[in-house]
Symmetry: C2
Subunit: 243 residues, 2 copies
């Protein structure tokens, strides 16, 4: 299969996604939050681009008698009136089991919304990388790893996370890697302790300065969750199909 | 200063270039050709997007009594009716001294044309990297390395060439590097013999398969020419200001 990486949500072109499986990555922290929430029993995650849309969606669900929780961030900070920040550690089973989570984040939500033309959209992070690759290996489609990036910019953390997944994909099979996919793989293979590399990343240091060291440690763990969130192409809602 | 890298001509946004010095890189081979031609005494290099525009420009100059030579490639192959291919080794002093070269290539020419809104546009390659950095160090503007890439895609060769220049910039000064600039620098610093890295690059292998091994060896040499081609923002014409 052909394997490629798009380094920022800004570079997504719809026509490029035809017939491809997309893995959306925003390891710090949106896709780590989505994966954790669903692993801890959330019914679904509903990504919303704006804070206003998030509040409207909660109202809409409430009018149908459905209760939803609001999570997300702007500039890595909690949004007023929201139940959760963008810290995966807040999404514990006792808080969220069986509930819908409406999530609005700066980068990850946008990347997911721009990926809906792909044949399949998976949500990936370090914490569920191996499960994502296992699911990909059941298919023969071309793969594009979409790095959400930070405010349109390349992000070292998402890039090495892509590199880890490409490394896993190439363990037992020969694939056709684009130059950027080869470079991501190279970066991971030379930094298997990924913190050595991403400690230089701008976004990592923003989170560190906000005393979010526990989040960073958690998000950098490999393969601790065995689920793959899948985006419903028609509704944009994210849930777990097989577990 | 702030240092950034744009990984493909496709990602250039004019508004991003304001007040920045841009270094356009297409080391395999357009910017190596331009640098070599000017180092060997060509009067100027006139980049043209299409083959038709190149022929028209030659006619226009001819009607003014000015003689120009045509150089370039499509899919790395010589264009019918052109004087030179895109091999820097053809642009010898006896062939080109004092002459205007009209150049049309697939990637580099396009990147140059899309960069004209920058405050200054320099042409860089491995063969003149140190001279480019010396010129940059005379200014305090922010720098963007524009990798021409290959058909809109990231190219490992241009990326490591950017990394080499960033490495030189950071030798004696502290700069503010974006994540992608840090990654390019990392790649170079771990592959100072750059062929080890770019031998995996798709475009490198296309040229190798065309028996262009001599071109590849030449383009990968560091700092063998001490000139910096500069693009005239109004005319797009490239010449050497200081030598």
């Amino acid at each position: 299969m052909n394997i490629d990486v798009i380094i920022s949500a800004d570079h997504i072109k719809e026509e490029y996604l035809d017939d491809k499986i997309v893995v959306v990555i925003d390891m710090l922290r949106a896709t780590s939050v989505i994966t954790t929430a669903l692993a801890n029993g959330a019914k679904e995650v509903i990504p919303m681009l704006t804070v206003e849309e998030a509040f409207n969606k909660k109202k809409e669900l409430s009018e149908k008698g459905l209760d939803a929780l609001l999570g997300g961030e702007r500039r890595a900070i909690k949004i007023e009136g929201f139940d959760f920040t963008n810290s995966p550690l807040e999404y514990t089973r006792d808080q969220i089991e069986g509930k819908s989570i409406i999530l609005s984040t700066t980068n990850g939500t946008r990347a997911i919304n721009l990926s809906l033309k792909a044949s399949k959209i998976l949500i990936g992070a370090m914490i569920n990388a191996k499960s994502v690759i296992d699911m990909i290996n059941e298919n023969s489609s071309d793969i594009v790893f979409i790095n959400s990036g930070t405010n349109g910019q390349f992000s070292m953390d998402d890039f090495i996370c892509s590199g880890y997944m490409i490394n896993l994909l190439c363990e037992n099979n020969i694939h056709n890697l684009s130059d950027i996919a080869k470079t991501a793989k190279y970066i991971y293979e030379n930094n298997k302790n990924i913190v050595n590399f991403i400690k230089e990343a701008r976004h990592y240091n923003i989170l560190k300065d906000l005393n979010l060291q526990d989040d960073l440690e958690y998000c950098c763990k490999k393969d601790i969750l065995d689920i793959v969130p899948v985006v419903n192409k028609n509704t944009g809602v994210i849930s777990v199909i097989n577990k």
